[in-house]
C-alpha cells in the first residue's frame, strides 16, 4: 500500500510539472519588448530603432516617411526601418 502511494505521488508530481510547463509561453520574451502596432519588435531597442520602426510602419500605410541621413549613418534606425518595413508590411 505504501509503495502504491509513493508511485502515485511521483506520477502526480510529474503530471503537475508537465501541466505547468505546458502553460509557459515559448515565444519571444515580452520583457523590455518594444511593441508597436501590436507587433513585438524585440527587447532593449534604442530610440533610433523605435523611430525607424515607426517611420517604416507609417510608410507601410502609404505615408512615406524616412530620415535618409539617419538611414545611411545610424545602424539602429536603418535596422528599425527595415524591421518595420518587413513586419508592418502594408505592401
Amino acid at each position: 500500500m505504501g509503495k502504491i502511494s509513493k508511485t502515485l505521488l511521483t506520477n502526480m508530481t510529474l503530471i503537475t510539472g508537465l501541466l505547468l510547463t505546458a502553460c509557459t509561453s515559448s515565444g519571444p520574451s515580452l520583457e523590455n519588448a518594444y511593441i508597436y502596432n501590436g507587433i513585438n519588435f524585440g527587447g532593449d531597442r534604442d530610440e533610433s530603432f523605435k523611430q525607424g520602426v515607426r517611420d517604416a510602419c507609417r510608410t507601410a500605410e502609404g505615408d512615406y516617411t524616412k530620415d535618409h541621413d539617419l538611414f545611411k549613418t545610424n545602424e539602429s534606425y536603418r535596422i528599425g526601418w527595415e524591421d518595420g518595413r518587413l513586419q508592418c508590411k502594408g505592401k
Partner: protein, 207 residues
C-alpha cells in the same frame, strides 16, 4: 494519282507556312512600335536597347523612381516605388495599355505634370465623372499614371487603384522618373526583403 497527292501535300504545306507567317506577323505587329527594350540589371540599373540594337546602362541610384512592369503576358502588371536609397517601399497592381495600338511605350520618362483632378480630353467619360484623377503625366502624348480600374486595360495610361495612387501621388515630384518595361522586376523585391531579414539577424547577434 501520285501527282494529285503531291499537289495536295504541297498545298497543305504552303498553307501551314502562310499560317505560321501570319502568326509571326501578328506577334511582330503587337510590338513593332516598342522600339526600345528595357532590362533591369539591379534595383537601380537598367539596360536600354534602342531599335538599332545600341545599348546603354542607366543607373538611377540616388534618385526616386517608379518601375512599371506592364500588364501583358510575360510581365507582371505591377508598379514599384523606389526611393533615393534604392529601397522598394511600395508595390501595387496596375493595368496598362491594350493591344492594338494602345500599348504603353517602354522607356524612362520624367514626371512632367501632377494634377489631383483631371478628365481625359482625348477620351472623356460619358458620365462626366473625372477619369484621370491623381494624374502623373510622363509623356507629351498623354501617357500618365492615374486612378483607374486595374482590371481594365487602358488607352496607354497606367491605371492604379485608389489606396495605391494616393500613396504614389503624395510621394512623386517633378524629378521622379517612370520606368516602363516588359518582363519581371519582382525578383529585386524578394532580394531586398531577404537582405532586410539578414540585416536584422546580424544586428541582433552583434548585440
Amino acid at each position: 494519282m501520285k501527282k494529285i497527292l503531291k499537289i495536295v501535300l504541297a498545298t497543305s504545306l504552303l498553307g501551314t507556312v502562310v499560317q505560321a507567317n501570319e502568326k509571326r506577323e501578328v506577334v511582330v505587329s503587337k510590338f513593332k512600335h516598342q522600339a526600345t527594350t528595357i532590362t533591369p540589371l539591379s534595383i537601380t540599373e537598367f539596360e536600354i536597347k534602342d531599335k538599332n540594337g545600341n545599348t546603354k546602362v542607366v543607373n538611377l541610384k540616388g534618385k526616386k523612381f517608379v518601375v512599371v512592369s506592364v500588364s501583358e503576358p510575360g510581365s507582371e502588371g505591377k508598379s514599384y516605388a523606389v526611393d533615393e536609397d534604392g529601397t522598394i517601399w511600395w508595390v501595387d497592381k496596375i493595368s496598362s495599355g491594350a493591344y492594338g495600338g494602345h500599348e504603353t511605350p517602354n522607356g524612362i520618362f520624367p514626371i512632367i505634370l501632377k494634377r489631383r483632378y483631371h478628365m481625359s480630353a482625348a477620351h472623356p467619360s460619358a458620365s462626366g465623372i473625372n477619369n484621370m484623377d491623381f494624374e502623373m503625366l510622363f509623356t507629351n502624348q498623354g501617357h500618365a499614371l492615374h486612378l483607374g480600374n486595374t482590371r481594365a486595360l487602358s488607352h496607354g495610361c497606367i491605371h492604379v487603384g485608389r489606396k495605391d495612387v494616393e500613396a504614389m501621388f503624395k510621394w512623386v515630384d517633378l524629378k521622379t522618373k517612370v520606368v516602363i518595361m516588359r518582363g519581371n522586376y519582382g525578383q529585386f523585391l524578394k532580394q531586398e526583403l531577404k537582405g532586410f531579414q539578414k540585416d536584422i539577424e546580424s544586428y541582433d547577434k552583434s548585440r
